[in-house]
C-alpha cells in the first residue's frame, strides 16, 4: 500500500499518494493550473514554466508539473508573484512565435493580462513542407520538447529529431537539419499528436487551412478501430464534407495512449477512393437477409 502525503493548496488540505506532483494536487482540489509542455503521457520536462506555483519557503517559484509533493507543503497557485511570472511567460512566448492555434492560450492571455505586443511581433511563419504527410512550422514552436519526447523514449523510439543549437538559437532539428524523408523519421505522426501549438500539422489539415476551407464547426468525429493489424488501436476519424481530414487516437486509450503508426494515422485515403456503390463486408452480410 502506498503512503499518502498531505499538503495545502490554496488553503485546501489534500492527501495524495506519495510521488504525486503539485499539478495533481492542484487538480485534486479543483484548481486549474495552465500547462503547455506538460502531457499526461510524457515525462515532464518543466521548460515552459507557465505552471509555476509558489511554495512557502522556496526561494523561487516551482514548476507544478514536475515538483513532487512533500508533506506539509503550503502551495499558492494564484499569488501575485505567480500571476506575474505566468503573464510574462505568455508575453515572451506570444511575442516570439504565433500562438493562434494553441487552444487555450488566448483565454490565458486575457486572464493574466498579457500584452505580448510590447515586446514586438513574431516573425512571419516559415512552414517547411518536405513530405506529403505533415508540415513543420517552427514559427509556431515554443520548444516544449513534446515532439522530441514522443519521437524518443516516451513513445516511438525513433529519435529522428532533437533540440539542437543553444540559447535563442535552440531549435528542433534532424541531424544536420536534413529533410524528414532523409532522416530517421518513420512518419508515425506521434509528434503531431502532442504538439500544443499547431507547429506540427497533418498536411491534409494544413492544405485545407491554406485554402481557407478548414471548418471545425462542420466536422464530426467517428471513433473506430484501426483495420490494418490486430493490435486494436482506437481511431478518431475527423470528417469534414464526407471526407476524412485528420486521424487521431484518444490520449486515454489503454493501447495507444494517443499514439499510432503511419498506417493508422495517414493510411485512410483508400476510403476516399472507394467505387460508387461499394459494399463493405458488413453490407454484404446484411444483404443476405
Amino acid at each position: 500500500m502506498s503512503r499518502t502525503v498531505t499538503l495545502t493548496v490554496d488553503g485546501h488540505e489534500v492527501a495524495l499518494p506519495e510521488g504525486s506532483t503539485l499539478l495533481e494536487a492542484a487538480r485534486a482540489v479543483g484548481v486549474e493550473v495552465p500547462t503547455l509542455c506538460y502531457l499526461e503521457t510524457l515525462t515532464p520536462v518543466n521548460v515552459c514554466r507557465i505552471c509555476v506555483v509558489e511554495v512557502e519557503g522556496s526561494r523561487t517559484l516551482v514548476p507544478a508539473c514536475s515538483r513532487v509533493a512533500e508533506p506539509g507543503m503550503v502551495v499558492r497557485t494564484g499569488s501575485a508573484r505567480v500571476r506575474r511570472a505566468r503573464r510574462m511567460v505568455l508575453e515572451l512566448l506570444g511575442s516570439a512565435v504565433h500562438l493562434d492555434l494553441a487552444p487555450e492560450v488566448a483565454s490565458w492571455m486575457e486572464e493574466y493580462g498579457a500584452e505580448p505586443g510590447r515586446w514586438g511581433t513574431p516573425p512571419a511563419p516559415e512552414p517547411r513542407v518536405d513530405n506529403d504527410l505533415y508540415v513543420r512550422d517552427y514559427g509556431r514552436c515554443i520548444l516544449c520538447y513534446k515532439c522530441v519526447e514522443a519521437c524518443g523514449v516516451d513513445a516511438q523510439w525513433t529519435f529522428a529529431i532533437a533540440v539542437a543549437g543553444r540559447g535563442d538559437e535552440a531549435h528542433i532539428s534532424t541531424e544536420y537539419d536534413v529533410d524528414l524523408p532523409e532522416s530517421a523519421c518513420v512518419f508515425c505522426g506521434n509528434c503531431i499528436a502532442v504538439c500544443p501549438t499547431g507547429a506540427l500539422m497533418a498536411k491534409s489539415e494544413w492544405d485545407l487551412r491554406q485554402a481557407g476551407r478548414w471548418t471545425p464547426e462542420t466536422q464530426h468525429t467517428t471513433t473506430t478501430v484501426c483495420s490494418y493489424c490486430g493490435v486494436g488501436c482506437n481511431l478518431e476519424l475527423w470528417v469534414q464534407d464526407g471526407r476524412v481530414v485528420k486521424v487521431t487516437s484518444p490520449l486515454d486509450h489503454d493501447v495507444t495512449r494517443g499514439n499510432l503508426c503511419i498506417k493508422g494515422r495517414f493510411g485512410y485515403t483508400y476510403l476516399h477512393d472507394l467505387p460508387e456503390g461499394y459494399l463493405t463486408p458488413i453490407d454484404h452480410l446484411l444483404s443476405r437477409f
Partner: protein
C-alpha cells in the same frame, strides 16, 4: 533500439582520430558488441567529438555518423549535443581559428579597437577569427584562444595578432595565502617538489583518522562551497557518504567561465597535485572510487598540467586500486568542456559528462541523491576542494577561527580591471572590497564601480568599498560573492557598454531550455539597446522567479545593480 544512421562514410583520418577514444566495432562475424554495452558508453560522446575536433578540425557528417555507430547514438541526438558547444564545429573551417575575448575586462582595455584592427589583418569576422566571452585571462587585459588542427589549442595573453605562438604570461598571485603559497614557488610538474612542500601530508592524516572523522573535520571547519551557492561542504559529503546506493561519484567543477574569474585556473595550473590530493581525500571520505574533473574547454594549459599530475600520481600509486597502499581505490578522469558557460551549473555539468546536452535539470532531486548516472554524487568547485587539505592538516576547528558567520577560512579573488597589479588575491574572510583592491596594487584610476561576482554578480558603488567580501557582507548590499571575481571599473570606462555586453553574454550562454531565460535574456538585451529600462523589472521578475537554474535567475542582477547605481542613462 533500431537506429537509422546516415549513409556517409568517415574518412581514414576521422576513424584514426576516434580510435584512441572509442575503438571501432569488431568486424568479426562471431562477436556482436552493441546494445546496452555500447549505449552505456554514451558518456564518451563529448570526448569523441573532441577527438574529431582536435584531430581533423571539425565534425563532418561522416565523422558524426562514425561516432553514432560506435556508441549507438541516434544521429539527431549526437548532432543536438555537438551543436550545443561553441568549440565543436559542424562546418569545415580554417585549420586555425582564433577566438578573441571581447568581454567585460578586455573591453575596458579597448577590445573593440583591437578587433577592428584585427579584421583588417586577419580577414572578416566569423572565418579566421570570432569573438569570445571571457577567457579567464583578465589579468593580462586581452586574451585569445587559438584552436588548431592537431592540438588541444592554446591561450594567448596578452593578445596581439603577431603573438599567436607565444605562451601566455602567467597570472600572478599578488597576495598569497595557505591555498596559493606554493604557486610560482614549487614546480607544478614535479611530484617530489610537491611532497617536499608539504604535499600528501593531508591524505596521510585523512587515512589515519578515517572517513567519518574527515567529514567531521570538514563540518567543523564551516567550509562552504566556493562556486557561488555557498552550500556547507561537510553536509554535502555526509549525505553522499551515508547513501546506501552505489557507486558514489565525485565531480570537481573546474568549468570556470564566469566573466572576470580566473582563480581556479591559477590553482590548477600552479598546484595541480594539490587538487589531485584534495579529490583523493574527498573520494576517500565519501566512498567514491571515481572522480571526474570537468575542466573548461578554453583552459588547455590547466588541462595539460592536471593531466600530467594525474598520470604521475597513477604511476606512483597515489591513484588507482590501492591508493598509497592504504587499502582504498580512487582514480580521476578528466573531462574537457567544449565552450558552454552553462556547463558550470552542476546539473548541466552532469548532463554534459553523461553525453547529453548541457541543460540543467530540476532540483530537487539534488545531485547528492540523483547525480552522475543517477547515482549519489558530490560536486565541488576547485577552490572548495583545495581548502580540504588545510582543514584535514590543521583541524576543522582551527580553520573555523578565520572569518565569521558562514564565511570561514580564506577566500580567493580574481582581481582585474582598473587596478595596478591584476591577479589572484587570497585573503582571510573579512577583508573588504577596498582591501582586496589594495592588495592588487590599488585602483589605477578613480573608480566608478566594482563588479563583484562577474556577469552573474552585481555592481557596487565606490562608496561601498568598506563592505566585507563575505557572504553576509555582500548580501547586505544586495549582492552576492559569486565566483570571486572583483572587477574594478574606472571612471574612464563606459559602464553602459559593459552592461550591454553582460546582457549579450547571458543571451548567448543561456542553454535555451526554459522560456523565461531563453526569451527573457534576449528581450533584456533588446530593452537595454533601446534604452527601455521600464521593461526590465518584469523581465527580472520572471527570469529570477521562474527560470530553471541560476543562470536565468541571476541574468538581471548586474544590469539592475548598474541601473540602481545610476551608472546607465536611458529612460527609466
Amino acid at each position: 533500439m533500431d537506429i537509422r544512421f546516415m549513409e556517409v562514410k568517415a574518412t581514414e583520418a576521422e576513424r584514426a582520430a576516434l580510435d584512441p577514444v572509442v575503438e571501432a566495432p569488431s568486424t568479426s562475424p562471431r562477436l556482436v558488441v552493441g546494445g546496452r554495452t555500447a549505449r552505456s558508453r554514451r558518456h564518451l560522446l563529448l570526448p569523441a567529438l573532441w577527438a574529431l575536433q582536435t584531430g581533423v578540425g571539425w565534425v563532418s557528417r561522416g565523422g558524426l555518423d562514425e561516432i553514432c555507430r560506435r556508441l549507438e547514438i541516434p544521429p539527431a541526438e549526437a548532432y543536438a549535443v555537438a551543436s550545443f558547444y561553441d568549440l565543436i564545429s559542424l562546418e569545415e573551417r580554417p585549420e586555425r581559428t582564433v577566438r578573441i575575448c571581447d568581454d567585460v575586462v578586455c573591453r575596458m582595455a579597448g577590445a573593440e579597437d583591437r578587433l577592428a584592427d584585427l579584421a583588417a589583418r586577419l580577414g572578416p569576422e566569423g572565418e579566421a577569427w570570432e569573438r569570445s566571452s571571457c577567457l579567464g585571462r583578465c589579468d593580462r587585459r586581452s586574451a585569445a584562444f587559438v584552436q588548431e588542427v592537431g592540438s588541444a589549442g592554446r591561450s594567448v595573453a596578452p593578445f596581439d595578432p603577431a603573438w599567436l605562438d607565444r605562451p601566455p604570461e602567467p597570472t600572478p598571485v599578488v597576495a598569497a595565502g595557505p591555498l596559493t603559497e606554493r604557486i610560482g614557488h614549487a614546480d607544478p610538474t614535479d611530484l617530489d617538489a610537491y611532497r617536499a612542500a608539504g604535499g600528501y601530508r593531508a591524505l596521510r592524516a585523512a587515512v589515519a583518522m578515517g572517513p567519518d572523522a574527515v567529514i567531521r573535520e570538514v563540518k567543523d571547519s564551516g567550509l562552504v562551497g566556493r562556486g557561488g551557492a555557498a552550500f556547507p561542504t561537510g553536509v554535502k559529503w555526509e549525505a553522499v557518504a551515508g547513501s546506501p546506493r552505489r557507486p558514489h561519484y565525485l565531480i570537481c567543477n573546474a568549468d570556470e567561465s564566469e566573466p572576470g574569474t580566473f582563480k581556479d585556473r591559477v590553482l590548477i595550473e600552479g598546484d595541480p597535485y594539490a587538487l589531485v590530493e584534495a579529490m583523493t581525500i574527498a573520494g576517500y571520505a565519501t566512498g567514491c572510487e571515481r572522480g571526474y574533473v570537468y575542466v573548461r574547454g578554453e583552459y588547455p594549459e590547466a588541462l595539460a598540467a592536471l593531466g600530467h599530475a594525474v598520470d604521475t600520481c597513477r604511476r606512483r600509486g597515489l591513484l588507482g586500486d590501492d591508493v598509497m597502499g592504504a587499502g582504498f581505490a580512487f582514480d580521476i578522469e578528466i573531462r574537457r568542456g567544449a565552450g558552454a558557460y552553462i556547463c558550470g551549473e552542476e546539473t548541466a555539468l552532469i548532463a554534459s559528462i553523461e553525453g547529453h546536452r548541457g541543460e540543467p535539470r530540476a532540483k530537487p532531486p539534488f545531485p547528492t541523491t540523483h547525480g552522475l548516472f543517477g547515482k549519489p554524487t558530490v560536486v565541488n568547485n576547485v577552490e572548495t576542494l583545495m581548502n580540504v587539505l588545510r582543514i584535514v592538516d590543521e583541524g576543522g576547528l582551527s580553520y573555523a577561527e578565520h572569518g565569521e558567520g558562514r564565511s570561514r577560512g580564506t577566500k580567493l579573488f580574481a582581481v582585474s580591471g582598473a587596478v595596478a597589479e591584476p591577479g589572484v588575491v587570497e585573503v582571510p574572510f573579512g577583508a573588504t572590497i577596498g582591501d582586496v583592491i589594495s592588495a592588487a596594487g590599488g585602483p589605477s584610476e578613480p573608480l566608478a564601480a566594482v563588479l563583484v561576482g562577474g556577469a552573474a554578480g552585481s555592481f557596487v558603488g565606490p562608496d561601498d568599498l568598506d563592505v566585507p567580501l563575505t557572504f553576509e557582507g555582500m548580501a547586505s548590499v544586495g549582492g552576492a560573492l559569486g565566483s570571486g571575481a572583483v572587477v574594478a571599473v574606472g571612471r574612464s570606462s563606459d559602464v553602459e557598454d559593459l552592461v550591454r555586453r553582460i546582457a549579450r553574454f547571458f543571451r548567448e550562454e543561456s542553454c535555451g531550455q526554459c522560456v523565461p531565460c531563453r526569451e527573457g535574456t534576449r528581450r533584456q538585451e533588446e530593452a537595454l539597446a533601446a534604452g527601455r529600462f521600464d521593461l526590465l523589472d518584469d523581465l527580472a521578475a520572471v527570469m529570477g522567479d521562474a527560470s530553471i537554474c541560476g543562470l536565468g535567475q541571476t541574468a538581471s542582477s548586474a544590469v539592475r545593480s548598474g541601473i540602481a547605481l545610476g551608472l546607465l542613462g536611458g529612460e527609466s
